[in-house]
Structures are given as structure tokens and as C-alpha cells.
Chain length 312, copies 4
Amino acid sequence: MTLTAEQQAEIDAQRAARSETRRATVPALEEMLFKAVPVLDHGFVRAIDYMGDDGAVVQAARVSYGRGTKRVSEDAGLIRYLMRHRHSTPFEMAEIKFHVKLPIFVARQWIRHRTANVNEYSARYSVLDREFYIPAPENLAAQAVVNRQGRGDVLQGEEAEEVLRLLRSDAMQTYDHYAQMLNETAEGEKVDPSRQGLARELARMNLTLNTYTQWYWKTDLHNLLHFLSLRADAHAQYEIRVYADAMLEMLRAWVPLTCAAFEDYRMGAVTFSATMLAAIKRMLAGEAVDQKGSGLSKREWVEMMAALGREP
Amino acid sequence: MTLTAEQQAEIDAQRAARSETRRATVPALEEMLFKAVPVLDHGFVRAIDYMGDDGAVVQAARVSYGRGTKRVSEDAGLIRYLMRHRHSTPFEMAEIKFHVKLPIFVARQWIRHRTANVNEYSARYSVLDREFYIPAPENLAAQAVVNRQGRGDVLQGEEAEEVLRLLRSDAMQTYDHYAQMLNETAEGEKVDPSRQGLARELARMNLTLNTYTQWYWKTDLHNLLHFLSLRADAHAQYEIRVYADAMLEMLRAWVPLTCAAFEDYRMGAVTFSATMLAAIKRMLAGEAVDQKGSGLSKREWVEMMAALGREP
Amino acid sequence: MTLTAEQQAEIDAQRAARSETRRATVPALEEMLFKAVPVLDHGFVRAIDYMGDDGAVVQAARVSYGRGTKRVSEDAGLIRYLMRHRHSTPFEMAEIKFHVKLPIFVARQWIRHRTANVNEYSARYSVLDREFYIPAPENLAAQAVVNRQGRGDVLQGEEAEEVLRLLRSDAMQTYDHYAQMLNETAEGEKVDPSRQGLARELARMNLTLNTYTQWYWKTDLHNLLHFLSLRADAHAQYEIRVYADAMLEMLRAWVPLTCAAFEDYRMGAVTFSATMLAAIKRMLAGEAVDQKGSGLSKREWVEMMAALGREP
Amino acid sequence: MTLTAEQQAEIDAQRAARSETRRATVPALEEMLFKAVPVLDHGFVRAIDYMGDDGAVVQAARVSYGRGTKRVSEDAGLIRYLMRHRHSTPFEMAEIKFHVKLPIFVARQWIRHRTANVNEYSARYSVLDREFYIPAPENLAAQAVVNRQGRGDVLQGEEAEEVLRLLRSDAMQTYDHYAQMLNETAEGEKVDPSRQGLARELARMNLTLNTYTQWYWKTDLHNLLHFLSLRADAHAQYEIRVYADAMLEMLRAWVPLTCAAFEDYRMGAVTFSATMLAAIKRMLAGEAVDQKGSGLSKREWVEMMAALGREP
């Protein structure tokens, strides 16, 4: 991650300022506030504002006049109950805002989560930085053979080197041509006074999808959990999962009771279909059940046995 | 408005507590925080949490690393620009949460604004209070004759008295029967040990629509402005408009620059159709234009002339 | 359910009309279209329009140029795969619209599902019918003792009779007073020419929450499934569950493959927490596990054992 | 636009099929259904399904049991009334689905409209086609000088040629490297058996933003109008406006009454702020008003005078 001295100074200034407030405040998250947590080679995620805490969930569930919280054990119990029974509205009562720097192809996945507020850096209005995501060698995965949508082994040797060389050189070349077409200095002057310069909203089309963009992304706790349950999952693409992982750490600092319930009832939970449940009941009764006899497809059988930690 | 001593104590305790925060803080709204502003005879609205300020709008529009704000005049200009050109996403970056006590028939209108988070006091789980909205005599309007959806003159004399008498006695009677069917003391004991008591989720159906309910309602600044533009409008039903008016005062304290732009470009603004615009251009050119010649319907003509402050 | 002769004639006329279309058409749902299925004592639900079928889900998942469907077994397999892995967006590509008549207290629960389009009959604009929900004797449940939000045994004898008497007489009395305050005939004339009549938007507040209202409700297939998974569930209040049950039958006619996958992977499925899963693994390995040793709370233990069909 | 023979055959087959339906049907839109309307050099938009018509709007506003429509003039009047007073919910009762092929940078703008359903062709799962948007020479605009976000004059001569050359060669080169890294034939075989091939989800990052993607996009009539009011507007970027223009023609065929009201009250309408309105009133009263005396900023004054068709 490369923050300019100016950017770092702005962040430091924001971290230094303090105010007094009547609002619920979370010291553990305050400690992290505004700090940029590095993700991928040039990206970051930083929490820049929040509203509410675990108490806001409890308070909303009780529609109380005051804080609404009781003993920690009671609050934890209520939060666990709400999570288990998918009473989602109390979790909508806390809100968080992030500033994220991320490759465009990751942004395209991320934006599919519609219940959030977004302001993206505008390439119609401004010039993008010369920064691209180039995977680390250990993340240069081959196409999976069994799963059309997944990753296989890590590429090795010459093939890996060639891929890195192509990604780097194409990104730099297309960026340089982007800059050339714009014909614009950082101060907005013309580089070559004899040329007009292509409109920014057009020139940007020459950039590759690993170019970094950035945005403010704000969502409520319920929708954040939904995002994390999909994107911090082992099936998510690595390049978005690392952002989700970084946000999960902030979640833990912000709402520890909610985070613990989330990890037990959502991240670590498994859903079994009616047919799977019937098979499990028979197994528990001591019956020997195999795929054929279970009524499950081969794929479902493998998924169920994996979830149960058993040999298929 | 009738807050119990216990409720008032909870509010006072919350107002007394202070924390230090790195977040943007708005002293004028902090001053109001948690205080219940009376609305109608037993209702209230109180701001109970917020995220961001005018600066959050500016910051998001600029996708900045720090506060993003510049001189007040520049920030005001940017906010006015965003409001005028309906760039709505930066206004989604601030959030506010209210606790509202309101009659059920008002809640039914309010809930139609879907882009908000709501936790309502549950009458499946708890017993509602014995409080109903009875209009003040000056708000006891007759049905409008011209407008099927509006109000006419204020009812007078015996008719008014009879209406108030019916509203009061029916609300009290249905509530008393509700309590009787529940057969439950405030402590959850049976009043008459020989009866089981009807389930709360059923008994509530006997209540009238002027019974008060309460909820937590959280929304972003953009959607709050949309709510206010419809509900603080002269065409809104009086009983919801008074809530919107109270919230408008909190808006002014919270985001003064946004509020000023909103009042100029939204609350006080008028939209003219293409046909109306053509008529106005002709008027400005000195032509005498009448309804027939304008291409407008009678109703539209009246609406346009009213907006222009001219005799139809 | 009481449809007037005029309403029935309108429905019949709509059922009689036929057009030719290039759109995907579902004969089994066409057969049901517009018919009012009775629910509760005076309510109904009827499907009045739809877009797409099982093929629309498949087509969207494949982003195809044509129908996109292949052999039924392949389509069923794809739909099951999408449902199992919670790939929800293809299910958003089919849409359905219902006309529902329902008690106001049911409407208040229903409206909490925000991702839907609603047009409700306006009591500001029109006069509501004199129809209220009075539970059948077998649905007159007592308050549950263990579960604050649930129902217990059915009320018996005098207590039941008294409840029915109160519900009936209060609903009729408040409605009659509503009509009296309105002072309006069905044709919009004044009943008593010496009185002005209270504005409709005010008079409605005297009605009880079991008064019937009606609305058009339109949603996509994904959100319909979410609604049904919550409202056709055994924990849902009986008075909304009967609507969900009726809609589930229409779902079955409309999108049989999706409905089958939904029943296997959602309605009949069970989610076990990480802690529960650990206990189940130990049980399957032949270990004797009890509540204490499981790390589960008493309540969770009971829930898990019930899901597994075992004695706690 | 380049449809393969196979794609065209799929479209033709879909156009040839007919069914009988009880649903509202719009012959003018049926005539267009499934046909791909060319947009830009390789893109298209085609309506592939719809629900409802102008009658659905009227029907919902009246919450009727039958068609709900009356004489065309009455329906038109009601639709105009709803549009003028921003009663938006009846317009949510009709729905339309499009299949769109569009450059990725256009897709990134489009997706910001969140109240819609989307299924995009997956570059994690499939290989993208070798098609890029290259602007026609007359659309090769320079950066605007006054408006940081707009376009100026069309580039000429050598500068234009150089831009086109760079866009073309970079797109082709990055695509060829994408294909090389994938190491995959159209049939999914390896081109070079000695290499594994990079995972699709990674290789796609090498593509430029003018690469074409495609999606199914479904929305309700109200949100479609909102999309069109922003994207068919003169201030929208040309490359998205041409899609909006093509969809506006389909709108006209589908819901002619709604489309006419939309063009009068939204597309052709102008909103004046409170301050502008005050100035216009003074002008109409014959006063000479200038910018200074109006209380408007220079920019607002210019905007207002332009809207009024007068010299600033």
C-alpha cells in the first residue's frame, strides 16, 4: 500500500482530533478509526465512521427509552437469540462506513451488494492513479478442473513468470496510453499544447480491470454480516476475501457480542436440506447410509459428508 | 406527552453520559440528543443517534482521505450544487436514528417509506399502553368537497363534540376489552385466575387505529430529505406533518448547510411541466396567455398560476 | 369471503379474456389467474399477473440469447444448485402480483417485507367496507406460557364466547361510529344534511385493527421465497400463515422446479451452528453427548435435538 | 452489432413461439420482443419480457377487482395526475426485462441504479468475447474546459487517429494476452498442453474497460422512468444515453400514456428553486431582474435563464 505523505498527514490529522459526544462510543474501534489496513499490493480498507454498538442491537430489540442494555450475559443471550432466529431488523440499527481502495474487478463483485451506500472516485471527473493489482506469486492460481468457477494449483516456473510479465506490462502500457490520450498534467495543464486531450470519461476505457479505484462504502450491521458471510467464505474469490477478512477484524472490535454470535450461527454454521436431514437422522440411529440410499445426488452427498467431517 | 418517571430517568441518564470520540460531532444536535419533542397529544420524536454531518456529504463527494472540507463557503457551494443536480449519493453518507411514538394510522403511512430501518414495539410480545390520539378541536376537519383526499373546514359545535365523544369512548372501551381479554397484570400475572387470557397477538386486533405505538426509525440523510419533502409538505396529512416539522428542526441543527439547500431547492422549489414551461416563456415574452391557449388542463392551469402567485 | 356480484363479474370478465403472447406462459398458473382463494373469514388472495417461469431462472443463470432451458432434468439440477448455494439473483428474474384482502393487523406484519411493491386501498380517499376478522373458535388461542410471543391452548367455554362477543360487538360499534362521523352515503351524499361529516383521513382512526383492507402486492420470486420461508413457517402467526400457505400452492403451479428445490433446501432444511455441528459430529462418531458437554445452552440443545428428531 | 448465426437462430425461435394468456398484453411491444436493437458498435438492447401495461398503473391506483381501466381519456388523466403529483407506487406495478450487451465502463455507471435485478455474464465462469467499444470518430470528444465532468469539441486529425489507434491496439493486445494466459480453446481444451492456464477469475483482470459484457436487467416502470430521466438526459455520458434512448422507444410502445406523461412532466420539465421562483415572479410582474438582484449565483442565473430560453 502506498499512501502519499499528504494522504497520511490527512489521516493523522483526523486521528488526532477528539470531540465529546453523548452517543454510544466503542473504544476498541475508535483505536482503529481512520487507520488504513493494507490489503493486496496497493489496496486498503479503513473504518471512517460508525453509529451504535452491540447495545444498539439490544436497545432496538427492546425499543427502550434508555440504553436498554442489561448485564453482559443477558445482552449476549439476546443477541444470540436474535441471530439464531434470524430476527434481522435489530442488526440494521448499527451502521459503519469504510474507505476502500480496491482493483476495479473486485469493485465489480462488491457492488452487487445493493443494500449499501457508495461514493466512488469518479474517473469522469478526475484522473486515476497509476496503480494496478499484480497477484503475489503464491496467489497465481490455475483454473480449477472440477469447478468451472474456482481455482486450482498455483502456477509454477516459466508459466507463472510469463503471466506476471504480461499483467505488469499490459497494465503499464494501457495506463501510459491513457495518460497520453488525456494530455493532462497533475495540475490540469496540457502536456502537449498542440493537442486537446481526450475527455476523461472516454480515456478511462483504456484502463485494465486490475487498475485500483476507491470508494466510500457505508452499510448497516445486518447487511455487513450478509456481505461477510458471502465474501469471507472459503468459496469467495481470494481478492475480495482478503478485504472481508480485514473487515471481520474491525467487526470484532466494534461489536464483539454480535461478532461471536455471527461466527457461531453463520460463519461456522451448516444448513442441511430436508433430504440430508433425513439421512443424518438415520445415521444417528445407527443405520449405514450410502449415497444411493440417501436420495442425495453425488455432489450433495460429498458436500454433506464434508460438512460432517466424514469420508464420503 | 406523558413520559413516566422511569422513562424520563432513563433519558436523563443517557443525556448525562459523555464519551470522547474521533468521529465528526455536531454540538447543536448533541444538545438535542435523546430529548423527547412532544408531537400530537401523546406522541413524541427524539433523535437518539447520528453519523456524520455536512462534512460527511462533502467528504463523500470528494472521496477524500481526511475531512475533505474546505472553507464553509466552498462546502456550501458544493452542497448546493449536489442538491440542485440531484447528485443524491453523497447525502446517503450521513445517518440518523429516531425514537418515535405515534398513532398506528400515522405509522401505517410512515412505513411506506421503505428505505429505512425500523424496529417497532411488538404487540405480540408486550402489552400496549392505554394511550390514543384524540385530535384537538381545531384539527377536527370536515371532509374536503373539491379534493377527495383532503380536509375542509373545521367541524363546529355539536357535531365536533359528538365526534370527540365517540373517538374517546370507543378507544377507551376497546382498550378496556383488550385488557380484559388479555387477563394480565402489568407484572404478567393473571387478573382472573380462572381464565387463561387471549394470546397477545390476537387481543391486539381489538384496538383502534388511533392507539399509540412506538418505534426506532433509522435512515440516511438522502432518504430523510425525501421523507420530509413529502411529509412536511402542505398536502401531507396534518397528523404526520407535525412529526416531519419536528424532524426538520433537528435537521437544521444537524446539517445546516444541507438543510438550507434543501429548503431552497426542494421544499420551496416548483417543477413546471414542458407545457407549463412553454406557457411561462410566452408570458415572459409579454404575451397574454389563458388556460385554453396554454394547452394545460383547467386543474394544471390553476396549479401553475398558484405556483406563480398569480390570479388564475 | 364475500365478493359482491359486481366484483365477481369483473373477475369473470378478466378470466374470460385471452390474448396471444410471445412471452413465457404457465398454463397451470393461467388456470388459477384472477380467481380469489378464500383466506380467513372475509379475506382472499388471488394471483393477478406474473412474468417468467422456471425457465426465466435458468435463462438468467445462463444469460442466454434464447430460452436457455435444456432438458428438464438439467434445468432442475441447475435450479437445485442455485438454491443450495444461495445464488439468489436468478430467482429475482421472475415476478408475480397478488391482490390480497386481509385484516389490518396482518397487513402491518406483511408490510415489513420491504422489497416488494404495494398499492393499498386508501382510507383517505374511500370508505372501507364493514368487514372484520373474527377468529374461528378453534383459532382462539390463549397466550403461551413458555414463549412470550406464541400461542397456547385454545380457549374454551365461557371465556371463548366472551372473547368472540367482545370482538364482534366492538368492531361493529366502532365501524358504525366511523360511518356516523363520516355522514356519507355510498354515493357520496350526506346522510344528515345538517352535518359536514368528518374527513375520511380522520374518521378511519376509529376502526379496529381487525378491519379488512386490501392491496396489490408485487414481488420477485426470490423475495417471495423469503417471505414464504418466514410466513409459511410453523412459528409465524396463524393469521398470516394461511395467506402464505395459499400463495405456496400458487408457487407450486407457477414454478414447480423452484418450488420443489425450495421445499427441500429451505422449508424443510435445518441450520446447525458451529457448536451444534461439533456435537453432531461427536454423536455420529458414537460418543454419548449431553447438553452440558455440548457447550450449548439448554434452549439450543432442545432446539437441536428436536431438529434431529431425538429425545432431549 | 454482431450476433452469431446461432444467437440469431435462438432469437428467431423465441419470436416464432406463441402462447395464449389471460394476462394484459401489449401488441406494439410484442412486435419488438426479443429483437436486438443495435447500440454503439457491438452492443444491443432487447426487451425480453414484461408484465403489465398502462392499465396496470390505473388498476393499481384504483385497487380494482377487474381491469380497472375506464375511457382512454380518463385513464390518461389519472396517469398524468399520478405523474404530476409524484404518486410513484402505481408505476411500480408494471415490470420489464432487458438483455443488454454493453462496454464494462458503461455497465459500471448503469449498476449504480440499485433498485433493479441483474444477472451478468460471469467472467469467473466463462470466457468473454473479443469485442471492444471503439468510439466512432464523431464521438471522440475532447475534455470540456468549463465542466470538469463533460465533453468538449470533437478531436480532429492526427490526434483523433492516434487515439483510435491506441484504443484498438491496446484492447486487442490485452485480449490476446488474456486468451494466452487462459490457455483454453472454445471447447475448454488446453491450447498448449504443457501449461495449466491461469484461473478465469484472475485472467479477466487484464481486459480493458471497453470490453463488452452482457446482462439481464429487470426493473419496474417507476425505476425505469427514474433511470431514463437521468440517463436519457442531455448531461448523461453519450455511451449510456444511446442505450437509454433505445429503451425510451420501447417504453413508448409499451405504455404510451405513461410515456407521454413522463415526457411532459419529467423529461421536458424544469424545477426552479425558491430563489429562482421569486425572480420569475418579479419578471412576470414586469420588473427588470438581473443576476445580482436575483440572489442567485452566476451559475444558477445562467441555468435559470437557459431554462427560460432567455439571454443571460
